[in-house]
Each structure stands twice: as structure tokens, then as C-alpha cells.
Amino acid sequence: MILTPLTLCLLLLALWAVIGVAGLARPTSLRYVARTLYPLGALCGIALAAVAAVSITWAPERLVLPFGLPDLPFHVRSDALSSAFLFLLGAAAAGISFFGAGYFRSGEGTAPGLLCLQYHLFLASMGFVLLADDAYGFMVAWESMALTSYFLVTTQHRIPEIRRAGFLYLLIAHLGAIAILLSFGVMQGGSWQFTFDAMRAAQLPSGWAAVAFLLAIFGFGAKAGLVPLHVWLPEAHPAAPSPVSALMSGVMLKTAVYGVLRVTFDLLGEPASWWGLVPLGIGLLTAMYGVVFAAVQTDMKRLLAYSSIENIGILFTGIGLAVVFHGAGMAVLAALALIAVLYHALNHAFMKSLLFLGTGAVLHATGERNLGRLGGLIRRMPWVAWLTLVGALAISGLPPLNGFVSEWLLLQAFLFAHRVPQTFVNMLLPLGAAVVVLAAALAAYVMVKFYGVVFLGQPREAALARAHDPGALEKLGLVWLALGCVLLGLLPAPVVGLLGSVTAQLGVGSLPQGASPWWVLEPLPDRDATYAPLVFLAAIVLVVVLTFQLVGRMFHRRVRRGAPWDCGFVRLDARMQDTAEGFGQPIRRIFQSFFAIEREQPTPFDRAPRYSIVVTDRLWRALYLPLAGLVQRAADAVAWLQQGRIAAYLLYSFVTLVTLLALVL
């Protein structure tokens, strides 16, 4: 077979699978599995990213594999959209695999070899999701992805909470999968062809198309963690080993975004304008929900998980915006919004993976996930601290890093939303912009809390003194991802150019060609809004260096070390620092309505006064527990049918018989 990007991608995915299987050869040997196989997997990832980066500008190409259902062999197809996400997958996976090579230890739970198998099958199945071109192949890859990730989550399966998390995750994933399946069932539109081509060709009545769209939103939203289907996310991410959390949060959630884009813009063809309001509304809600909950978390991985929910919300907001514009026939703005979405997906893959890996390193060095027992690590583990700082600043949407770019693009798109024909909508959209901005600002708050409590200040536990930087491979992984954040931040124009080919190929539209040089990002030349992070950075660095030099020259550089100023309170110690709960307190006050709070406050007369606060998700009680209760009641009700009396059973069949006879007579 000839080597095209598509076949290359398939080969690389197959290679991943092979590496995974190879892990079973010597399942317990850490040197073989971790130090050899994972780096190989990482190289695969780099290769995949390279191939995808090239093929993003190529014309789509197809291939039919000799497996699958008899009338429905697996079709695969690589186009700009899938290439973009394949790049994301490869690039992020490379960093994570490097890290994982040093991270995984043998011990409790799954053996390294089996873990390696699950890990690489997870990667391969994600890749296949992106390449699949028929409903069946897609579903197979999709569910394999869910399954492998479930096994990865439950690595430490002896801990009940982790089992519960895994169960919740797989349950919601499965429900989502069924919804997606039904949506495919609608889209194939009577032609019993389940290939995506047939779906592109099928002409659906608008009502059915809407049904398909909503089903898809539900299904993919369940995987992405849209409110109210987000509950699995903050459970599963902390449960999983850090590289796995990084993969799930950084890459797997994006496959859901990919699915929505594929269905909406490719398979359904012409989405109606009002559809966009659904993901828009849910997205905004999700964004707020996620970030507000992130602000009050005390477990660093839960915090990051909630921040992922927030970013997913922003992504879906962008998708909604793109659909609205597309439906209204505003090609350029639709393209802009879509590019913002793709860009943000890419960014989030890098920064969130980076942060999760950072927490992983901290977790290994200290064995602590609770923010209340960390602190001051920037002195013990400078590498991790400074690299994580990059991620934290990036995800707070601060220039000149990458998080800011996608935010900027999205806001640019929002700014012209008022040109949408429907007055109602164009009244609504600015409020959307306001919420997005608010969420972004809160994200900064969250990240300051996260970084400050974990890495700055004084260590809250004596044990932290023994913490130290991880090994070379881990560092390599972190550096790779941090580099990604920086580059994506500094070179927005070329990236936007590449992503433009995606929107063009999807028929959404494309951005007009500006005359601006490569280092200036100018999406809409007609309104001279420009952003040139390189200049920006150069200027800041220049000023900083200049100031430093001048101050040094004109005056002096003398420094004395002394005890911190204790404001006259004697014996200031680490436990007097602000805690995670304390840092979250303003948010708790302001957004009280979101939370279900149980707090225990000491009275002045307590012998051993203790203060505890538990913040839980209202939705959990408002939605899920009642649902379970409902099913329970129904089950109890039907159980009455089966009382063990044979007479009753005979009566059933008698009644059935008579009824049916009466029916046919």
C-alpha cells in the first residue's frame, strides 16, 4: 500500500497498539515496560503530530479496511478536521508518554505491562475515533476509548471511591454512547448505509435533523462533561494516575468536541441558526459552573478537573456561536468562532496536560493531593514549579501565552455577534461575552489559588522538606508541553492560518487574507484589531532587563536576608498561612447559590475547636439521587409481581392468553 498521510496515521495507530501488546511480554519488568515502551509510544506520538501537521492542508482521502460488519466494513478518512485533532492527540500524547515513562511505578493495582496495554490501546482508539468514517467504526472506537480509559481510571481498584468513580464514569459514558448511536440512526435517513458519506448525502427533514443534533449534543456532552452530565469528571480525574488524567482531560474530552463538530458541520450539513443557542447556553452555564466549583476545591486534581469542565464550557460556547453565525450565513465570523474553538482545544490539550502532570510530579514527590498539606514546593522542586507556572499563566488566559490567544479570538467573534439578524439573539450574545470574560477572570483567580497554595508560601507539612524534582524523562515531558504552550502563544498567525484550512474544508467559510506580517495576528483586516505576542513579549523582556540593569547600575544590588515581617504577631508559622478553603471563601460568599454547603464552626467554648466545611454539588442531590430513587421505587413496584406463588404465575399466563385471544377475536 502506498504511503499517504492516512495510511501513515493508521500505521502509527497500529504501532501504538503493538507497543501496548508488547507490554504483556514482560508485564512486571518496569525497566522494559516503562523505560523502553513508553518512550517509543512518545516517538509515535511525535510522528503522528508531524504527519497530521502536514496533512491538514491536504485534500481529504479515504480508505476501506477489511473488517467490520458484512455490509459495513470500517471506512477511514482523513481530512483537515481530523488532522487538526490528530495533531492535538499526537503532540499531547508525546509529552504525556515521556512523563509516564518515568512516572509509572509497579506496586498496588494493575501490573505495569497491563497498564501499558490499556494506555496505548486508549491512545490508538482515540486516534481511530478521529479517523473513522462510518458510524459503526466510530462507535467501536468510541466505546473502546471509554472502556480502556475506565480500566486506566480504576488502576487502584482496591479503593472503593476509585471504583465508584470508575463506575459513574463508564455509566454516563455508556448512556452518552447510546444517544450518539441513536443520533446516527436518525442521520442515516432510511438509506441503510451507515457510512458518513451516506449521512452527508441524506436529506433529513429539519425536525429529524434537530433531533439528531440534540441527541449528538447529549451524547458527546456526556463525554465532554457538560452540566448536568459533568458529575463523573471531578470523580474520575482525581482517581486516575496523573498521566491518565492528563490524557483524559487534555485529549479525550476533545474527541467529544471533535464529534460535535463532525456531526454539526460535516454530517448534518446545514445547521439551523437556533440550534446554536443550545450548546451556547449550556456551554456558558458549564463554564461558570466549572470555574466556580474549581475555586472552592481543596484537592488539586479535583480543582483541575473542574477547570477542565470550565474550558469545555467555553469550547461549547464557541461551537454554539459558530453554529449561530453559520446558520445566519455570516461565513467569516463563523470561521472565526470555529477557529477560536479549535485553537482553544489545542491550547487546553497542552496546558491542562501540563498542569495534571505537574500535580502528578507533586503527588509522587509528596504523596499529597490535599492542598491543605502542600506549599512552598517552588524551593524543593524548581523545575516542576516553573514549568507548571507556565501552564497556570497560560490557562489563566494571560498574554503572551497561548490561553490568551484563543480567548482573544473568541471575544473578537463575540464582538460582532450583534450583526445576527434575530434581534433576540443579538441581545443575548453580548451577555454571553460577559459570562465568558467573567469565567476567564475567575480562571485566573483559580490558578493563583492553585499555584500559590501548592508551590508558594511555606511548606504546611514537615514531610514536604523531602520533596524533590522528578527524573529526566518526567522533566522532558513537562518541558515538551510547556514549550507547546509558549509556541502556540507566540506564533498565533501561522496556527490560525492552518486551522483556517479546516474551516474552509468544512464549508464553514474562511478568514480573509490580511496583509499583516507573520508575527502579527490580524483575523479581520477590515477592523484593525491586531495582536503580536512576539513584539509584546520582546517589549516586556526589554523593559524588565533594562530596568534591572539601570537600577543595578544607578544604585546597587545589595540584598540582605531576614525573617519575614510578622506584623507584630509573634511566632508566625506555616499553619497561619491562608488555606485553600480560605482562598475559596470569597467565591463561596458570592456564588452561594451554586453550592450545597455543610460547615461545622467551633463555638467559643469548644475544648478542641475544629472548623470543617464540605462543599458539594447541588445537582447531585437535585438530579441524580432522585433519579436513582425513582428507579429503586419502580423496581420495588415490579418486584411485587414476583411473590413466589405458582398460582399467581399461572394466573399471569392465563390472563395473558385470554387477553391476547380477546385481542385477536
Binding site: Q643, I646, L665
Partner: protein, 222 residues
């Protein structure tokens, strides 16, 4: 209208008797009597079969008559009597629905089954077409009996009388089934009887009674 030939009248009389028997069983509490009633049912079937055989001159009806004699008149009652003696279960306890209520329901069932059989009898070419309704009635009545009884033994009697009803139905609708099927059915009934015999002793040695309320432990409601 010409009067029916005598043998047809006889057949109808027999079928009427069968129906009566079914009601008798429904109302009967003594198990021994139940078994005797079953035997009588067998005899009636035998008579009907022979009559039909003589009338239509179909040889395979003679075979089935022989089968009936061997199985339903002689063997089954014999086995049942022995079981009763061995396990000394002579009485069934009060049925779940009291007798009069059962009777009423039985009447409704008869009406229903006649209505059910109406279209079939219209199509039938046999001399005994009008008996089909009765066959259905017997089947459903035995069903009812199985529902209402509390002792395993009487349930089995109900089961067997249902078998008889089926046999009668087959005969009155189509002068019986093909030979091979007849044989197969007979074999099954035979085996079923043996299995039941084993069963009774197993149940007996477990619960030292054949009361069905011992057999109500496996259930969902708890």
C-alpha cells in the same frame, strides 16, 4: 332440517359429559375422587375415539384409542392411586378461591371459549365440530383448576385433564393428529408422569408434605 345421525348425537352427549366432568373436578376437594374423575374422563375419551374410528373408519384413530386406553384409562390412574397411597395425600385443603366463586368464573370461561371456538367450528368439516368449543372449555377449566388448587397432586391432575382436553380438541377438530405426533405426545405424557412421580418423592422427603405453600420461598419481594 334433518335430525342428526344418532352417533353424532352420542358424540355430543359424550362431550357434554366431559364438560360436566371438568366442572366436577373444579368443585372436587378429595384428591382420590379427582383421580377417579380423571379416569372417567379417560374412559369418555376412549369411547369418543372408538365411536369416531368406527364412524370414519380411519385406522389411526383405533391406534390412538388403544393409546388412550393404555395411558389415560389404565396407567395414569394407577400411578396416581399408588402415589396417593404411598404419600397418603387424600384431601386437598381449601382452594384459593371458594368453590362457588370458581364455578362462576368457570361459567364465564365456558362462554368465552364457546365464543372462541365459534369461527373454528364454522370452518370445520368434521362431524364433531360443535365439540371444539367444549374442548377449549375443558382446557381452560383445567387451567383454572391448576390456578386455584393448593396441593401439588391436584395441580398435576389438572395438568393431565388439560392434556385430555387437548386430545379431545385434536380429535374433534381434525380426527386426531398425525400418528407420529400422537406417539410423541403420548411418550411425553408418560415421561412427564414418571418425572412427576420422582418429583413427589423428592418434595415429600424435603417438606414431608405436598402443600404448595412450601414452594413459595424463591421470590423478588422481600
Amino acid at each position: 332440517m334433518n335430525p342428526m345421525p344418532f352417533d353424532v348425537q352420542l358424540l355430543n352427549a359424550l362431550s357434554a359429559l366431559l364438560l360436566l366432568l371438568a366442572f366436577a373436578m373444579l368443585s372436587q376437594r378429595r384428591i382420590v375422587t379427582l383421580v377417579s374423575l380423571l379416569a372417567v374422563q379417560g374412559v369418555l375419551l376412549l369411547a369418543a375415539t372408538l365411536l369416531l374410528a368406527w364412524r370414519t373408519g380411519e385406522t389411526h384413530l383405533y391406534f390412538s384409542a388403544a393409546l388412550t386406553l393404555a395411558l389415560k384409562v389404565l396407567f395414569l390412574p394407577w400411578v396416581l392411586y399408588r402415589l396417593i397411597r404411598r404419600l397418603d395425600v387424600y384431601w386437598d385443603s381449601e382452594p384459593l378461591i371458594n368453590i362457588s366463586g370458581t364455578m362462576l368464573i368457570g361459567l364465564l370461561i365456558v362462554v368465552f371459549s364457546f365464543g372462541l371456538a365459534q369461527p373454528i367450528s364454522e370452518l370445520a368439516s368434521t362431524a364433531t365440530r360443535s365439540a371444539i368449543g367444549i374442548a377449549v372449555a375443558v382446557i381452560l377449566l383445567s387451567f383454572l383448576m391448576m390456578i386455584t388448587r393448593r396441593k401439588a397432586m391436584s395441580q398435576v391432575v389438572g395438568f393431565l385433564s388439560m392434556e385430555n382436553g387437548l386430545f379431545f380438541g385434536a380429535m374433534s377438530a381434525t380426527y386426531g393428529m398425525p400418528m407420529i405426533v400422537e406417539l410423541g405426545v403420548a411418550l411425553d405424557v408418560l415421561v412427564a408422569m414418571l418425572v412427576l412421580g420422582v418429583f413427589f418423592f423428592q418434595i415429600r422427603e424435603q417438606f414431608d408434605s405436598l402443600d404448595l405453600h412450601h414452594l413459595e420461598s424463591l421470590k423478588e419481594k422481600r
